[in-house]
Amino acid sequence: MDADITLTVDGAQQRLTVDTRTTLLDALRERIGNTSPKKGCDHGQCGACTVLLDGDRALSCLALAVAHDGAEITTADGLAADGELHPVQQAFLERDAFQCGYCTPGQVCSAVGVLDEVRRGWPSHASQDLTADPELSHDEVAERMSGNLCRCGAYANIVPAVRQAGGVQA
């Protein structure tokens, strides 16, 4: 069965007709031609497909496109609108927080989501005090980024990159 939907992707409105079984990831990559989010597993196991969905980070391979009619989606590419890198992207570059780069667009979107969650005071499993505002500690960042696999093992640089982007002098 097909359905007509509208998505705003990196600021541009897209109208498309999709088979209702189409994932948001496939809609982005195959239909809209935005290959910034990567497909590492298609099963919610690796995080490479992470995008910002109405501002929150989400695994686009686990989302059905039809379920997000009208949604606003930002990919890593869209974070760098006007050619200016987002502070998270800049920090990933400066900290060499990647090698092959396949996980990176997902890591970057996830990190943007993490910084926002911390700013909003959402606690995590690693938070020391559930009533206080979480701090952007090593443990806090690692815990929140643990859904994004990096086979190249750039983890040791990802944590300081996220903290740097969050304004922590690390």
Partner: protein, 784 residues
Amino acid sequence: MSAPARTPAGAPGHLTGPAGGGIGTDAQRPDGTLKVRGEFAYGSDLWMEDMLWGVTLRSPHPYARIRSIDVGPALAVPGVHAVLTSDDVPGAKAYGLELADQPVLAVDVVRYQGEPVALVAADHPETARAAAARIVVDYEVWEPVTDAIAALGHPRWNAVHEDDAEVTELSRESAHLHPEGNLVRHLKVRTGDPSPTADVVVVNTYEVGMQDQAFLGPESGLAVPAEDGGVELYVATQWLHVDQRQICSALGLPPEQVRLTLAGVGGAFGGREDLSMHVHACLLALRTGRPVKMSYNREESFFGHVHRHPATMRYEHGATRDGDLVYVKAEIYFDGGAYASSTPAVVGNGGTMGIGPYVVPNVHVDCYGAYTNNPPCGAMRGFGSVQTAFAYESQMDALAAALGMDPVELRCRNAMEQGSTAITGQVIDSPAPVVELLRRLEAMPMPDAAPDDLRHMPGGVSNTTHGEGVRRGVGYAVSYKNVAFSEGFDDYSTARVRLEVVGGEPVATVHTAAAEVGQGLVTVEQQIARTELGVDRVVVHPKDTQVGSAGSTSASRQTYVTGGAVKAACEAVRGQVLARAAELTGRPVGELRLFDGAVVGEGLELPLAEVLGDDAVEETLEWRHRPTEAIDPETGQGFAHVQYAFSAHRAVVDVDTELGLVKVVEMACTQDVGKAINPQAVIGQIQGGTAQGLGLAVMEEILIRDGKVQNPSFTDYLIPTILDMPPMRIEVLEYADPHAPYGLRGVGEAPNISSGPAVLAAIRQATGLPLTRVPVRPEHLTGT
């Protein structure tokens, strides 16, 4: 020579990247900005307007005869453009890196689960998949051969040892899988006294499970038919020219008609050295006359590339009461799976590196690679040395325990150094700071005791007890790995370097076919050109077969060999430029050099624009490291390896002995890299290699039952997450190898080798258990 090609969207272009940074600096990656935006086009991102999608039908059985294949029902599916079987392979029906024994598409027999049987091209990937499912293959299912030792008809531990022989004749298990039998290679090393005796002897058997490269970007590429009847292939790979050779052979086309360009590579780690979808996509493109894209999903990826060989190893170490090694006997079995891939070379490394970086007068090694009906195994980072390191380093710990000695003392006492003789009879003719690597680790501060917080316990809050059974352990291990290709292989790389002035600014362009897989080779190419030519702007040409072979991105060799080629080509260009400048200025060439975009000499600064005008100076040349030689088949003696890499790890772990859970608390690593061309990239290699070694020690294994893979997903095949990787302390030493460009030493593999054995040693120390198998699982620790 190239026919006009249509270029797929996103195809790799020239990399310019940030200017500046010669060798020895943390120059930034030229592809970095593209990667953080997701604009760097991996094989799976390429796209053409009229392309079709190719899928592979694979065998569900590890061993079976194909009675018949009916492709009719698949062809009848609307949207299907082609269905191919082995009958449609126009050239050689089989390919392989070392032996051409692996069918492009199964011919009569399938020898492993997942072997490609047929291909479908359709206008949508789901259509192609649905059509493939309609192909009717009639199999006569055979009992698979699944044990490497039995496959060779060997008693379980042959005459070298005294154990019971469980299999004494050619049994069903050892039925020939290939006409020549099931032995891929038997390597022997024999030195000193054939029947030595020693005061203290330790004998143990070790097993290493099958590890997957698990690169995050699955196999993918796009084949585009060309007007000259040939094909252009954009593909994620490690060695364009060895792919080209095999593709040409299968397609029956000359190299001019099979042109490859490297697509973005989402990690490799050895798993892309063999062909995957390469020939398949080309066959479909040539048949349909349309571009064909193939992109494996994660499950197919587990079947679509070779894995790290599982190994069974029996070691006997003899030493004096003072701790001097007297002899080592080792019997090593690598399960090569259904096809040879690079098993012969893995056996070569496993055998010749097989006792570690130690000096031993009497050595008796038998190293075997066998065919079975398990998934084919081949290259993975550490290549034969990872498996043996688990065994020889465990033996050093066992020996230390038997002697009542400190394990680090025992290692230092027997460590090789420059001038030592390796078991191949080769004199180690460059620095071998094994003792220093260990001593520096020992001197590093230890991590604090685990805080009294459940979240820091092994397993975290969800799994742990209250820590009553948590024990800390510390372990050490050293790695020893040959760099570059060995045993007489003609190992070279080709570089084309051009220097010109564009818009008033001097620009160098470096063109090699060396695959960038994430390690940062493109950065290194730029750095070398900047240093050698004194220019800031260096453009990296797309990697393709329009220039000669660079050899493989494997064996920790590209910075050495392609780096050497780029350096040599730059020197040739520089020679020409300086000769022109000498002519212009009347100065002798010897007084001139290139610096900051100008020819400079005493009181002279002549901008390159004035020397070159509108001309470009270009040189293309091949560069080789000094030759190695084949080893003697009976004794294993010979100048087999050109260079060795050494690293050492100290692992600190907490083990919950009741729950069988391990938390790696800290990893420390020391490595000699000769010269760090890009220190930041060296650290990245050490971190990444450490993570993969840790993974093999405690979590990563492809589980095989009766030849069938049980866990082809990231839910069931676990790789380290950011939470599994502990903080690291790293010290990098730079003792120049006088034989290598800039004195550098290959970096990528060594840390992958010493990491796992150090973790294992630490778990052993924490638990007091012998632990002779990796990955260590909870039941090994709890005995349940």
